[in-house]
Amino acid sequence: MAMTETVTTSRTLGAPGLGSGKGRVWRSLRTNPLGLTGGILLAVVVLAAVLAPIIAPYDPTEVHFDTPFQQPGTVGFLLGTDDLGRDIFSRMLFGIQASLQVGVLSVLLAVLIGTPLGLLAGYWKGFDAVISRLTDVTLAFPFLIIAVGLAAISGPSLGNAAVALGIAQIPTMIRVVRGETLRIKESDFVLGAKTMDASGLRIMAQHILPNATSAIIVQATVIMPVAVIGEALLSFLGLGIQPPTPSLGIMLSDAQQYIFRSPTAAIFPGIGIAVICLAFNLFGDALRDALDPTNTSRK
């Protein structure tokens, strides 16, 4: 489900000068079993997506009318085939690729628009009220409604799904960056820069943004699974990626039609989505703990 969760500990993230360092972050990530699991899952998922054209035994849209509904483990078809005899394993690989594409695109959109707006809102009071109203308006449109609107205007597509999911995530990104800015704005080094007559833009770019980076990265790992599930949901409903291009959501919606004949066809795409999301959730949680310098004891 497309549930969002804001980073509640973002206020404590990335406080400068508290012994943060790449070495410490790495150590924390390596020694956290859940984080390590997440990292490994993440590596597998990314490799599967990147190497899909090489690993996949078949073209994901290639039909084999003589061998529909093959069960998993059949020679030649690792995870079986669907109603048109298409290889489920190959379709899964390309589906994961599509999921990550949409995820990365929507994260980029949220970061590229949310970060500057969050900086401005946090730094200049005058912008705060305007940006807050814009955020409220955006929040009033759930991503599905944005997707419905975009699909009505220019037809459903991968790009529209990514835009809808990205726009829906901008408010939380603004909120995170704004919170960080409010906090960092009060630190001594920003005051120091101010006394040296540094301009507001310069302070934001040189002093605040670098210190807010870890919070932005953590929020990105929160957005990814939401966007991946969102893509699957939109494609499932016919508002996202269009057949015959494989997507985990389309595979699920196809499989629902012949679920009693071949339930496994509905099970694998779901596991695929769950694994991607689990990877990002686990890795994101561990990253949040690792980047939080005030937190050295949490397991």
């Binding site: 497309a2 549930m3 969760e5 109203r133 449109f141 759930p142 949901l233 016919g238 779901g270």
Partner: protein
């Protein structure tokens, strides 16, 4: 307090106006000329002009906007281009289904979420905590429409415990209605329950580390009683906010849940409208969801300030 309410009302009004402008502009971006669609391909330019004048499309944009707002405030959303039925009637028949489903899902999510949150805090470091944490992680990672498909396959068809699809009117047959909606509501509520569980737990940990809890414990109050008396009460505020914030996700979830369980609700109306390019219906659906989101969040904020007097306008962000 009055000042807070006024500020909040003013903010919501601005949001409402901006949102209505977004929808107004969005509707004008839709492909296809409505006048051409009504008159047909062979219409003469004079006929088209007459229809445009009739629809008010020749008016200045600002006038069109005020006509648009005026119509909506009178509850006039036009007629479905597909069936010719007034859009208001379509909404009146489908909206209750979705409202019942969502309300039921919220109840499930709040009960399960708080219960697991309390369990996780009460049995810290032991298996119930791991179980509750695992539930939250799965709830956040597993797409609920997949859970829905699996639930139909195993709980409804193989075991036959629940109906696989269909809707029974909640008012005339409440018991059967609840029975039919149970599976969809549980599926829809899972993700929300996971979020509530995590936040409940975080808020409880915070409360349990405060000085007044330490005092209460030192005076001999048992851990469970402290949890319920202080931890739970504080986390309720968090839960109210989350439900408000997650409404958008809940609406999206309801659309897909209705699709899987074949419920004749608002989600079905929305999807049918998109695929048949029924623009008046799309416009109405988008407007109603947006309006209700703004109004509900206003209500949540007001409720919030009543429950917790510490929060004033500055805390609304």
């Amino acid at each position: 307090m009055t000042r807070y309410l006024l500020t909040r009302l003013w903010q919501s009004a601005v949001t409402l106006i901006l949102a209505s402008i977004v929808v107004f502009i969005g509707v004008r971006q839709l492909p296809g000329d409505p006048a051409l669609a009504m008159a047909g391909e062979e219409a003469s330019p004079e006929q088209l002009a007459a229809i445009r004048a009739d629809l008010g499309l020749d008016q200045p944009l600002l006038t069109q906007y005020f006509t648009f707002v005026g119509n909506i405030s009178r509850g006039d959303f036009g007629e479905s281009t597909r069936t010719g039925t007034p859009v208001v009637d379509l909404i009146a028949t489908t909206l209750p289904v979705t409202l019942w489903l969502s309300a039921y899902a919220i109840v499930v999510a709040v009960v399960v979420g708080i219960l697991f949150g309390v369990i996780a805090e009460r049995y810290r470091g032991r298996w119930p905590e791991w179980f509750a944490n695992g539930f939250a992680l799965v709830g956040l990672s597993v797409p609920n429409f997949w859970l829905g498909i699996l639930a139909i396959l195993y709980l409804a068809v193989t075991l036959g415990w629940f109906p696989a699809s269909g809707y029974v009117d909640m008012v005339s047959e409440p018991l059967r209605g609840i029975y039919y909606l149970t599976l969809p509501a549980v599926i829809l509520g899972t993700g929300l329950a996971a979020v509530i569980m995590r936040q409940t737990r975080a808020s409880m940990i915070e409360t349990m580390n405060t000085d007044y809890v330490r005092t209460a414990r030192a005076k001999g109050l048992g851990r469970s009683r402290v949890l319920v008396r202080y931890g739970l009460r504080n986390s309720l505020i968090v839960v109210v906010t989350i439900v408000g914030l997650q409404l958008g996700g809940l609406i999206s979830g309801a659309v897909v849940t209705e699709r899987i369980f074949a419920l004749p609700g608002f989600g079905k109306l929305t999807l049918d409208a998109v695929f048949t390019r029924d623009y008046p219906v799309i416009q109405a659906v988008v407007l109603i969801i947006t309006l209700s989101y703004i109004v509900i969040n206003l209500a949540v904020d007001i409720l919030y300030s009543v429950v917790n007097p510490k929060i004033r306008v500055g805390g609304s962000n």
